[in-house]
């Protein structure tokens, strides 16, 4: 599987309801074991990603930071354990589908996850 199958993938909860799209993937370096996929950042927005920004918090310049914050305000954090499965699309260039084990309401917002990481 490739990262291209994950990024932009449609995320569905156990009832096949749309949660959002995968916006980013967090990887943790486990040394000789490699880079482990820690979890997914899911954005409930209808389309698109932030241009030039990802989900790390940004403060400056303040005008762009304002748009970046608004863009990632409702992002959700999905630890890898909450992922039931990933199904890549057969056609090249189409994102896959990710199925979760829990509903959207049980997932924590990204902002909380950031606090626990730093």
């Amino acid at each position: 599987m490739r990262l291209a199958d994950l990024i932009g993938a449609l995320v569905l909860d156990p009832e096949e309801r749309r949660v959002g799209r995968v916006s980013d993937v967090r990887l943790v370096d486990e040394g000789p074991a490699g880079l482990r996929v820690d979890g997914l950042v899911v954005s409930p927005r209808l389309r698109g990603q932030l241009l030039a920004y990802d989900h790390r918090p940004v403060e400056r310049p303040w005008l762009l930071a304002y748009f970046a914050r608004r863009g990632s305000a409702r992002a959700l954090w999905v630890p890898w354990d909450d992922v039931a499965g990933v199904r890549p699309d057969e056609r090249t260039g189409e994102p896959g589908t990710v199925r979760l084990t829990r509903g959207a309401g049980e997932l924590g917002p990204l902002a909380e996850a950031y606090r626990s990481w730093s």
Partner: protein, 137 residues
Amino acid sequence: MTTHGPDPHERVQGHAYSARFHLLDRQVVAGDGTPICKVDDLELTGRDGRLYATAVLVGPAALAPRLRGRLGRLVAAAHRRLVVGGDGAPPRIPLERVRGIGAAVTVDARDLRVHALEDWCRDNVVGRLPGARHAAG
């Protein structure tokens, strides 16, 4: 030519990375800073119920899916037609060779072969022009 900048960040156990920011589309450089390629995609492999990034994927075959939609399919088809033989799998750099992830991704570049186009250009165009070995500076 060499690039330079702050010392490439050595990989540190426990350090977390954002795939979109720190890895995808980052420049891959050799130890001395010479640009090699871009991280066009990452190969993911399942192991013990977990998912690991196991290699950097390089080249049009790796980039095409990320271009999305019809554009991606067009690039993939064009690449397949231009490349004779092979199985269409993109060249890969195993993650063990990645020494550091900083402003660029530093890899151990010994014996690395990712450049069919570079070899072709060198042998058929640039190499035939006088003075191709001379570094202008």
